[in-house]
């Protein structure tokens, strides 16, 4: 018996959200009195044995070339085979794009109940109950998984990474995957930016910034804080900012430690995408902006007067001139 954690990679490096899943999975394993094991598909440059410090006893690796592109069907088969061979009773994924694409298929293949968007460790006192977000962050559901094998997709930024001692045993396994049916013909990635879903701090701008030429107020602060940048839906719709920055009900859902909203009124659809952020700061000139009700800190004021002063204060704090 074991807890198996899928370690998703980006350009050869294990993603931060997967390391969170590893720590979470290790804790679940401790709860159940079994070992935590990882699975890595494709070639990674990270030292797999060092993943032991996240609580993994063993890391299974298959470096077959075809796994360097994520293919739902092939990944599902490989993970299912390994899960069966290693006697995994709980399989943990990050609730990121790859996790969602693979785990849903795996659920069917293994007849394993799945909970996506988990935000806490399972309650194993009576059955196996996992808390997840529902209604776009407006509520939680406690979902009982009633099957022998359980699949959990952990929301990014919901479980802290803890680093301990330990070295994982690295086990390679052989698979002979069928050719992929999905052929990737082009990849267009934004490089050098902090990925929005994994960012601990997000600085976001809305229509209150009046135009794309004023976005330095967002990007300068983001740079100082090592933050990702985001925007509201209207801003993406009028193409002041790219669509992949749009957070909200119809955009990306995030839960950073700090969400810094500049000139965003906070419509309910926007809040649905950010309301799980641990600390929310709102700068808006309208004291009636609904966002203030959801915020932890706020300044009612003109963003063009307030933001330069905030940026200066952060520079001072960080010792940047």
């Amino acid at each position: 018996m074991s807890v198996l954690i899928f370690l998703d990679q980006a350009d050869g490096q294990i993603r931060k959200s997967s390391l969170e899943a590893a720590c979470y999975g290790a804790k679940v394993a401790e709860q159940l009195g079994v070992n935590a094991e990882g699975i890595v598909l494709g070639t990674v440059t990270d030292d797999l044995a060092s993943l032991g410090k996240y609580g993994l006893r063993r890391v299974h690796s298959a470096t077959t070339e075809v796994f360097n592109q994520l293919d739902g069907q092939l990944f599902t088969k490989a993970i299912a085979d390994l899960a069966t061979a290693s006697g995994a009773t709980v399989i943990v994924f990050s609730n990121n794009l790859s996790g969602k694409a693979v785990a849903s298929r795996l659920s069917v293949r293994l007849k394993a109940g799945l909970v996506s968007g988990a935000v806490a460790l399972p309650d194993t006192s009576n059955g196996f109950i996992v808390k997840k977000t529902v209604f776009s962050g407006k509520a939680f559901a406690n979902v009982a998984i009633n099957t022998e094998i359980k699949i959990i997709l952990l929301n990014p930024n919901s479980y802290s990474i803890t680093i301990g001692e330990g070295v994982a045993e690295v086990a390679t396994f052989q698979t002979a995957p069928a050719p992929a049916k999905v052929q990737v013909i082009d990849v267009n990635k934004v490089v050098g930016e902090v990925p929005l879903t994994e960012a601990e701090i997000v600085v976001s701008g809305g229509r209150g910034l009046k135009g794309p030429e004023n976005w330095a107020l967002v990007t300068d602060l983001a740079k100082l804080l090592g933050a990702a940048t985001a925007c509201s839906r209207p801003v993406a719709d009028i193409e002041w900012r790219p669509h992949h920055e749009h957070v909200g009900q119809t955009g990306i859902t995030i839960a950073p430690n700090l969400y810094f909203a500049i000139g965003i009124s906070g419509a309910i659809q926007h809040l649905a995408g950010v309301n799980r952020s641990k600390t929310i700061v709102v700068i808006n000139k309208d004291p009636e902006a609904p966002f203030f009700k959801a915020a932890d800190y706020g300044i009612v004021g003109d963003v063009f007067e307030v933001m330069p002063k905030i940026i200066d204060a952060v520079k001072k704090l960080k010792g940047v001139s």
Partner: protein, 247 residues
């Protein structure tokens, strides 16, 4: 080409979320039900566009639910689509729903199945993948563009930090999100026409759900915003550093 579009009903985005019966039941009274926005704006409308362009010949809609879903499915038919199928069952979990839709899909022999990227109530994002596995066909998630090129689908999808273009043979399951199509409003001709379109009701197959909801919780109320004077923005930075400890 035959397309099946999966439709789900969800509470309106502005609906008040509350629970009753010891936090085990969603309070449905007074809730306005809508077509799940991702199913409507992106999946259904793109299917309609493909039919208008002559790429698709037939569009069927499918939903799993009791008769109270009928107004929502009629509304979807008012936008477009040739007929709707309702699997007459309570919805249970994602696996149950995907299994029912897979059965409809097998009967209908569709080339393409569109879903929304998630429902805005359960936020599972799992129906598409489950359906594809049940039918043993490829699944492309989070599509932002979809076109046909010969016998292959060319799909642009979101990946972490960017976009990817895939070429995939049919049959195929695609989950749709923003970018696929522009939102439409049904016109009077559509609304009148929807009344005479067939809405077939089929009985569910026997499937045991894999999960069940034990209870719901509402998030703890926020303590309230701490306002800092606009004359002293540096005070906000101090609070974030020393009190909230987030910077």
């Amino acid at each position: 080409m035959k397309i099946l579009v999966c439709i789900s009903k969800t509470p309106d985005t502005t609906a008040k979320i509350a629970f009753t019966a010891n936090n085990t039941k969603f309070v449905a009274e007074g809730v306005q039900w809508i077509i799940n926005p991702y199913d409507e704006w992106y999946a259904l409308v793109r299917a309609i566009e493909l039919k208008e362009a002559g790429t698709a010949t037939i569009i069927h809609l499918v939903t799993v639910g009791l008769p109270d879903c009928d107004p929502v499915i009629r509304k979807a038919l008012a936008l477009g689509g040739d007929e709707a199928i309702r699997v007459n069952a309570e919805s249970h979990d994602s696996y149950y729903i995907a299994s029912q839709i897979a059965e409809v899909a097998k009967q209908g022999g569709y080339d393409l199945i569109f879903t929304g990227k998630e429902t805005i109530d359960y936020n599972g994002s799992s129906i598409g993948g489950m359906l594809a596995e049940l039918l043993d066909i490829p699944y492309v998630s989070l599509a932002i563009k979809f076109n046909m090129e010969g016998n292959d689908a060319i799909v642009v999808r979101e990946i972490e930090g960017g976009e990817e273009t895939d070429k995939v043979p049919l049959p195929l399951v695609v989950s749709c999100q923003k970018g696929m199509a522009e939102q439409r409003i049904p016109n009077m001709k559509g609304i009148m026409g929807a009344r005479s379109k067939p809405l077939k009701v089929v009985e569910p197959i026997d499937v045991t759900p894999l999960t069940s909801i034990a209870s719901f919780d509402l998030p703890p109320a926020k303590a309230g915003v701490k306002l800092v004077s606009a004359d002293q923005p540096e005070e906000l930075v101090r609070l974030l550093h020393e009190e909230a400890k987030v910077i």
